[in-house]
């Protein structure tokens, strides 16, 4: 293909006098740059570090409304009101996530149903305290721990026993 400047040069050789007055063609438009972007990341890994534990909760006598016992993702424990007493070591669940440095990782953890180990028909709902996300910073490759807390509501009608359940945790960039 002959581009336009080549045509102009040939014309000038053949008609030197004429091209002195020739108006250059007005064809080439301005360039425009389109951005092309991509974020390249390592796959995330998620590993369990420790379980959540609300310790032992002793229910008071009589009839009373529900009260909340819980622990935050940062480990701050609260033990309802005077109708309950709490003892034993408490801790939030912990998981370790690894991935690419300087990336924000979003955490998804739905509420958990805790089942009474003596009577599977008796359950408690654990409302999860989720930090929502963690920023890997420069520790993406080595990994970063994050906590998951939760709270339950108990009342005088709550059946005693050990309640357990499983978190369903997912992480995503």
């Amino acid at each position: 293909m002959i581009d336009f400047p080549t045509i102009v040069r040939r014309a000038s050789l053949a008609f030197a006098t004429a091209t002195l007055f020739a108006t250059p063609a007005f064809a080439v438009g301005p360039n425009q740059n389109a951005n092309a972007t991509a974020k390249i990341v390592k796959p995330l890994t998620l590993t369990w570090v420790q379980d959540l534990d609300l310790g032992t909760i002793v229910l008071g006598s009589g009839t009373w409304a529900a009260t909340t016992i819980g622990i935050t993702s940062g480990g701050v424990f609260t033990c309802g009101n005077t109708n309950v007493s709490c003892s034993g070591a408490t801790k939030p669940a912990q998981y370790k996530v690894t991935g690419t440095n300087n990336q924000r990782v979003f955490i998804t953890a739905p509420n958990v149903t805790l089942t009474n180990q003596n009577d599977s028909t008796k359950t408690l709902q654990l409302t999860v305290d989720n930090p929502g996300f963690v920023d890997l910073g420069n520790s993406g490759n080595s990994g970063l721990n994050f906590g998951l807390g939760g709270s339950i509501a108990v009342s005088s009608a709550t059946v005693d026993g050990t309640y357990t359940g499983q978190f369903n945790v997912t992480v995503n960039y």
Partner: protein, 168 residues
């Protein structure tokens, strides 16, 4: 006879001489006057090409491709292309009905802030063989390409894809 001859001579002398064609009187141009564009053809980038997030397993080689029709594929170490990946879209503006030639580079490099470099090649578009501006003087087309990755290439990459358009 003589009288008639005199009349003829007078008539011939009074006649206006015919104008000869002058081919050098007008300013010569190298294009047909009807083809000379009044306005430039311009390129407007409506959407940038974005591969979103590429999840890369290990340090081998892999590629991710985004085609102009929006389809995508990943090969090798590239395990996944993010859901928000999108092809680029550009709009040409110019004289209605004019044929245009659009040039896209076949390959460019994308760079990260940390100095990483990956190749973006096999650039393609959905332009027809003879692109032509529509009656309103515009032509929209989409473009895509392939990213090739080798080694440990974490990071945010960016590059400029120059698009040139001119009348044919």
């Amino acid at each position: 006879m003589v009288r008639i001859a005199l009349v003829t001579v007078l008539a011939l002398s009074a006649a206006t001489p015919a104008e000869a064609q002058c081919r050098l009187c007008s300013t010569p141009v190298t294009t047909h006057s009807e083809d000379a564009p009044a306005t430039k053809v311009t390129v407007e980038i409506e959407t940038s090409l974005n591969f979103d997030r590429l999840v890369v397993l290990g340090a081998g080689t892999g590629s991710a491709e985004l085609r102009p029709d929006g389809s995508r594929s990943a090969q090798g170490t590239v395990a996944d292309i993010g859901p928000r990946a999108m092809v680029g879209t550009a709009i040409l503006h110019g004289e209605p009905g004019r044929f245009v030639r659009v040039d896209l580079p076949s390959r460019i490099e994308l760079y990260s802030l940390s100095g990483g470099q990956i190749a973006f090649d096999e650039v393609s578009s959905d332009l027809p063989a003879m692109p032509r501006l529509d009656p309103s003087g515009s032509l929209t087309f989409r473009f895509g390409g392939r990213i090739r990755i080798s080694g440990d290439a974490d990071g945010d990459y960016r590059g400029d894809l120059p698009i040139t358009a001119e009348y044919q």
